[in-house]
Amino acid sequence: MAERLKDEVWTAGDLLERLERRDKFFVLDVRNRDEFERFRLEGRIPVPAVNVPYFEMLELGGKDEMLDSVVAYVERDLADQLPSDLPILAVCAKGDTSQFVAQGLRRLGYAGANLKGGMKAWGEHYATRALVEGPDLAIYQLSRPARGCLSYMVASAGKAIVIDPLRHLHPYLDLAHGTGLTIEAVIDTHGHADHISGGLALAAKTGASYYLHPYDAIHPIDVLPATFLYEFIRDSQVFPLGRHELKALHIPGHTLGLVAFRLDDRYLFTGDSIFIRSIARPDLGGKAETWAPLHGRSLRRLLDLPGGTTVLPGHFSSLDEADETGRFAATLDDLKKRNDGLVVLQRESEEGFVRYLLESLPKFIPEYVDIKRVNAGLLAPGEEDAATLELGKNVCALSQAYVASGGGRQ
């Protein structure tokens, strides 16, 4: 019993550790069905889950109080679906209702735990990991694990460049503060569709310059220009950083203004082009057939880089794409063998590859049009609307890889 009580609250950080360790546990998710379908807990291994909206538990449990209804409902209608030998994590939107559920589970003798802050806290959780860490060069990978978004801080000699910062600024500000780094430049590799960029805000907060390729300062569907000031990124432009340099490679395809960055000859920040298990989709600007050939040619350009180059991608679709240390990184040579899209790219003609791209497009996410508007300064949502737009995991990769990742499409 003591063991059970000790684990009754999991923070988002605790949850990430368990997902990364492949711990076995069960999820009782009490959100609405559509929220559950859109945004589920996913780990390195599948996380078994059952979804019963809390208002059904309350009504069908038939008691006045939430806790009593949970106990009555679970005992009568759910007992045969719940494991008695695994922790059961109660999950709701913000972590309040799930407290009653966890408590009810424990009252019935289950190892019930509550996800503190609910899916909101999980969706907004950031993890920071050093890929390289020394006074001469440091590379940090900052991720939002629930969303599959990756961003980076690259530093040398006390100065830092941030690549693709996500919506919340505290992970970047805290890291810079903790390591004594000054953020000199903030770069977006492209106009993002799946998440709201923190780029402009981080640059404003730190006094750094904000860089974007001008093609991506135009909303592709509205064909309207961005409303803010930014510095243009040119192909082959060099950003010096201590004894190192970042060099821009314009690789249109996922967007028209997509830029990858080479750090010396060793690292490649690929943005949304090459991920670990898959490649980016070419259709989020609404011009899939026009952009797909560009995408293929850009990817071939990246494949010509030295095979020992370490790819640092902008996304993942599954936590299982990380190495055993939780880092999302792999060499080009390695990816040529195991990345679904790159395997096809090497095998197919240009036409064959375009066909593959167009046949592998996942569902278009309607919110992505608005998110691009936000990132062009054409729309300014409040916090709640911003969080709603960003809800769930990114769908920036082709669908084969999405399914192959064992993700949430059961």
């Binding site: 909206p53 208002f55 309350l58 009504e59 006045d64 939430m66 309040d96 709640e384």
Partner: protein, 83 residues
């Protein structure tokens, strides 16, 4: 146009699940045909009242409104006891 109601439940400032838990108790005290107006600040209550009205017997969700006062949204639900 606001809906006519018989009783008002102020659930402002309450987090999920309390707006719904309290509304359910209040509905139990109404006569069939009477309407409860629930005022809440929890945005999730909009979908939750809809979902609940579908499973609950003798309850009909007769209206929902969002009112914006001084930048803060208030979510209003009109729930009728049908039997």
């Amino acid at each position: 146009m606001s809906q006519v109601f018989d009783k008002l439940l102020d659930a402002r400032g309450l987090n999920c699940p309390m707006p719904l838990v309290n509304a359910r108790k209040e509905i139990g005290k109404l006569e069939p045909g009477q309407v409860l107006k629930v005022v809440a600040t929890d945005r999730g209550s909009v979908a939750d009242f809809q979902g609940w009205a579908k499973v609950a017997k003798n309850v009909e969700l007769v209206g929902q409104e969002t009112e914006s006062t001084e930048g803060a949204n208030v979510y209003v639900h009109y729930v009728k006891r049908t039997a």
